[in-house]
């Protein structure tokens, strides 16, 4: 058990999730970061030191979610901040997209929110305080060729966010989404140079974002100062989408 509020960040071994875990430690939370592999979870544990822990969690698997959240509750206390960050891509044009490419993305990126949020809600309801922050994507609003599965999942994430915000407002639990644009991570490092050039022309700020710039948005939503914001999607994208 810890005296600090417990924050749970899924998919925290790399990229945006890792930056979020670090920012929440900075903000004074005890942070549990999850990864799908033992090595990933250990690395998170080492990086967070006394301010957190790493755990193995597969958000695509109901049993894994139930067991892991239960263990976290018993060992550290109920997570009152949940950052649903874990996600995958399986890009393909629709005419070539296999059913498992569709289903895997929906399961990991959207169905996971049902599982993990539900598992954390009892604790937040009891505490009369909670923050659920779902990491969406600008693609959920704009769409992107070759990402029908990913865009569908992220659009779903934003609808889920609005519905849950209405459901839980009376218990002082806020539910928001943060929608990153193109952020410099392993996911975007894989883009071909030509595509990167084209992309940068579409971004008024003329650069990719940094993971820390997403993490600071998440950290603000988790803070007391962000307490009157709920049901919204905060776009952090260098101006590439201006709604």
């Amino acid at each position: 058990m810890t005296d600090k509020k417990v924050a749970l960040v899924t998919g925290a071994s790399r990229g945006i999730g890792r930056a979020i875990a670090e920012a929440l430690v900075e903000a004074g939370f005890f942070v549990i970061g999850t990864a799908t592999s033992d090595n990933g979870a250990q690395a998170i544990g080492q990086a967070l030191g006394d301010n957190g822990a790493g755990r193995v969690l597969n958000v695509a698997d109901s049993d894994s979610v139930t067991e892991t959240i239960k263990a976290i509750n018993e060992e550290f206390g109920a997570p009152l901040v949940l950052v649903n960050n874990a996600g995958i891509t399986r890009d393909n044009i629709m005419l070539r997209m296999k059913e498992d490419e569709w289903a895997d993305v929906i399961n990991t990126n959207l169905n996971s929110l049902y599982r993990v949020s539900k598992a954390c809600l009892k604790g937040m309801t009891k505490a009369r305080w909670g923050r659920i922050i779902n990491i969406s994507s600008v693609v959920g609003t704009m769409g992107n060729a070759g990402q029908a599965n990913y865009a569908a999942a992220k659009g779903g994430v934003e609808g889920f966010t609005r519905a849950l915000a209405r459901e839980l407002g009376s218990r002082n639990i806020t539910v928001n989404a943060v929608a990153p644009g193109f952020i410099q991570t392993d996911m975007t490092d894989a883009l071909p140079d030509a595509q990167r050039e084209t992309l940068l022309k579409e971004i008024p700020l003329g650069r990719l974002g940094q993971p820390q710039e997403i993490a600071s948005a998440v950290s603000w939503l988790a803070s007391d100062g962000g307490g009157y914001v709920t049901g919204t999607t905060l776009h952090v994208n260098g101006g590439m989408f201006t709604g």
């Binding site: 009892k122 309801t125 009891k126 459901e167 839980l168 009376s170 218990r171």
Partner: protein, 77 residues
């Protein structure tokens, strides 16, 4: 040690903010005691804690009156 009825009544009074005299055995949480659907879930959570039991969702949905709560606890403790 208070009876099961008394302990259930106390929890309902605390959770729903109602008067003890309104917690009659036939009272329905939603219709008579002004609970919304979230309140009823929280009530079940409080019962689980008080009686150190786990009430499965499908059973919890059937607990809609004071008597139903008392009956469930008696049958499972």
């Amino acid at each position: 040690m208070s009876s099961i009825e008394e302990r259930v009544q106390k929890i309902i009074v605390e959770q729903l903010g109602v008067k003890p005299e309104d917690v009659k055995s036939e009272a329905s949480f939603v219709e008579d005691l002004g609970a919304d659907s979230l309140d009823t879930v929280e009530l079940v959570m409080a019962l689980e804690e008080e009686f150190e039991t786990e009430i499965p969702d499908e059973e919890a949905e059937k607990i809609s009156t004071v008597q139903a709560a008392v009956d469930y606890i008696k049958a499972h403790s």
